[in-house]
């Protein structure tokens, strides 16, 4: 199987220098994105997945945030260090992004039509009529009813699902190769969720687009993901095809996550959970970030950070249990 890697992230670290200390929100993230796939970035709240997404396009607040090290290679350019003008050509055109809350992500004082047309014109010169036609087609592609009308509506006049779809339509306006979706269904209810997921899957096949799908919900991972990267404490601790993650997770954290999924057929008195708390990005533990909560912790875990190593096929784990690649010590 030949795989076309279109995005490569290596050892990405984004730190925020605040009065209270350095917040190491992203602290060594490695993953690659293949053409036509949906890669899920999975993790709990505060693990750094959103900041990772923002870091790809350098969209975080720049004081106090800073990319301290690492590379994000797209189309031969390193997005972490290229000049701002260059990255603006990538933003919206090659790599687009949709956010969790459409109401706050859209500008409340401009119409949807204006906002979509603005993006179209940011990356090309089209006449007014042509731009409008393109915007209309995008809305229709999203199955937004009465698309003509929708163009003149303001965000607050639309329902939650419509807004989310409008935002997706906007992001597609320049036919990007990669779409980063940051928890696009978290703020909507279940029926809309299904619509959005359906649309995203259609888009992938129709436009041959890759999606980086950020979520904390494992059921969504199963629904849409091809591969998943599990993020903990600002690092990718495991990356593998979704089936593998769900059925044969290697990292103790991933195992804990999967174990936490309540089984409807089982007779549970208490919901299982992982003991301890998520790490504080200002004060990360030494060595492996997961070691204080790991039941398989060893001495080496307390002092040395594990590297992300390949243990089978495309399955990678960052855990000292697998220091001799492929050998499971536990």
């Amino acid at each position: 199987m030949t795989v076309n890697t279109i995005l490569e992230v290596s050892n990405l670290k984004t730190w925020f220098y605040t009065r209270r200390g350095i917040v190491k929100a992203v602290n060594g993230v490695d993953f690659d994105l293949w053409q036509g796939e949906c890669l899920c970035l999975v993790g709990e709240s505060g693990c750094g997945k959103s900041v990772t997404a923002l870091s790809l396009l350098r969209l975080f607040d720049s004081p106090p945030g800073k990319i301290v090290s690492g590379k994000v290679i797209y189309d031969g350019i390193d997005l972490t260090s290229c000049p701002v003008k260059r990255i603006r050509q990538v933003r919206g055109k090659e790599i687009a992004m949709v956010f969790q809350n459409a109401q706050s992500a859209l500008n409340p004082v401009f119409t949807i039509g204006d906002q979509i047309m603005e993006q179209i014109n940011a990356h090309g010169h089209y006449g007014r009529a042509e731009t409008r036609k393109k915007a209309l087609m995008l809305l229709e592609e999203m199955n937004i009813p009465q698309a003509e009308n929708a163009l003149t509506m303001y965000p607050h006049q639309m329902s939650g699902g419509m807004k989310q779809r409008a935002m997706i339509a906007m992001s597609l306006s320049c036919d990007p190769a990669i779409l980063i979706a940051d928890e696009p269904t978290t703020a909507v209810d279940v029926t809309i969720r299904a619509q959005i997921m359906f649309i995203l899957q259609e888009l992938m096949s129709r436009r041959n687009m890759s999606i980086i799908f950020i979520t904390h919900d494992l059921s969504l991972v199963r629904e849409i993901g091809d591969r998943a990267a599990v993020i903990y404490g600002g690092k990718v601790v495991e990356i593998a095809p979704v089936d593998t993650i769900l059925t044969a997770p290697a990292h103790p954290y991933t195992r804990g996550l999967i174990a936490c999924l309540p089984d409807i057929s089982a007779d549970l008195k208490r919901l299982p959970s992982i003991p301890g708390n998520t790490p504080n990005p200002i004060d990360l533990p030494q060595g492996c970030t997961f070691h204080p909560r790991c039941k398989d912790v060893m001495d080496i875990c307390r002092s040395t950070e594990p590297e992300l190593v390949n243990i089978a096929g495309v399955h990678k784990v960052a855990c000292h249990l697998y220091d001799n690649a492929g050998v499971d010590r536990a």
């Binding site: 607040d61 919206g92 956010f99 500008n107 935002m167």
Partner: protein, 320 residues
């Protein structure tokens, strides 16, 4: 939207009524009636007090019951019969007609100055937060809010007119209002009146901009690949402008008119403030009341316009 406009207009009428009524009450409740004051002048000239008093009372209906007086008062005001200024020997309306333009010009120029410089500096401050520019602007605005306007005027006169001789110390009315020479001698007054407002605008613009700079739609705008100038100048500004409009209009209404009054006196500009000031010391009631009412109705009008502008600018309110 239309029903809102109608409701708002109706409300303005109620407030207008309230204003006139309160003014009437104040006038009647005062220790000396308007007649008494006029009498003082007459007595000083040695005329027969009593007969004059009777004549006035008869003419102005002051001997009638208070309700009738009230209705007469309202009626007169609404018809534009704003009384007679005995100190200027002309109807109050005429007096106002010949002097309002000076006040208008002063307020207009100061406001334009204050808005352009104030909002501009505020935007700059917000975008370059915590840099030297920001701190300098902060200090400047603190000072600007704390300086008494009329004293600033005096100091400017002291420095630029008395010592440096760049400007004259008095206002020459011989120049046509919109001529360059006239505008030149308005530089110091406009600065005086403008700086107080300006300082406030810098602070409020900065905070409005900062509030919006942190909003999510800014990240979205950047993610679309827009230039920073578009992001700030179009997306952020359009949102920051909303509270700013309210603040600027409010400042115009409540503070600028008072400031203009004082500025006119300091610089000798013959606007309505000066007119009122002269009337006070001549005990000329009608003029003082008239100027107060004009100022108040202007504020009422400005408030109405502000409300309508705000409703138009914020689509969340326009389409509800």
């Amino acid at each position: 939207m239309r029903s809102y406009i109608i409701k708002r207009l109706f409300y303005s009428v109620i407030i207008a009524w309230g204003i006139l009524t309160i003014t009437f009450v104040l006038l009647r409740v005062g220790p000396t009636s308007p007649v008494d004051r006029y009498i003082l002048n007459i007595a000083a000239r040695g005329q027969d007090v009593d007969s004059v008093r009777q004549a006035i009372e008869a003419r102005y209906g002051l001997d009638k019951p208070i309700i009738e007086q009230y209705l007469l008062y309202m009626g007169n005001l609404l018809q534009g019969k704003w009384g007679w200024s005995f100190s200027a020997s002309q109807p109050v309306m005429d007096l106002i007609g010949s002097h309002w333009i000076y006040s208008f010009q002063l307020v207009l120029l100061s406001s334009i100055f204050a808005i352009i410089v104030g909002v501009g500096l505020g935007m700059l401050s917000a975008v370059k937060q915590n840099t030297k520019i920001d701190y300098a602007a902060s200090i400047f605005s603190f000072i600007g809010i704390s300086i008494p306007g009329f004293w600033l005027g005096l100091m400017l006169i002291l420095v630029f007119a008395v010592y440096l001789g760049v400007f004259r110390t008095y206002y020459d009315t011989n120049y046509p209002i919109w001529s360059l020479e006239n505008l030149r001698q308005l530089i110091l007054p406009v600065l005086t009146l403008g700086i107080g407002s300006l300082a406030g605008y810098v602070r409020y613009t900065r905070s409005a901009m900062l509030d919006n700079l942190r909003k999510e739609f800014v990240t979205t705008a950047r993610a679309k690949g827009l230039s920073e100038r578009t992001v700030i100048g179009k997306h952020v500004l359009r949102n920051a402008v909303l509270p700013l409009v309210t603040i600027i209009m409010f400042d115009l209404g409540s503070i600028v008119f008072g400031g203009a009054y004082l500025t006119e006196i300091v610089f000798g500009i013959p606007g309505l403030g000066q007119v009122s000031f002269n009337a006070i010391f001549a005990n000329d009631y009608a003029v003082v009341v008239a100027v107060t009412l004009i100022g108040t109705f202007l504020v009422l009008f400005i408030n109405l316009v502000t409300d309508l502008i705000y409703t138009y600018l914020d689509p969340r309110i326009r389409y509800d």
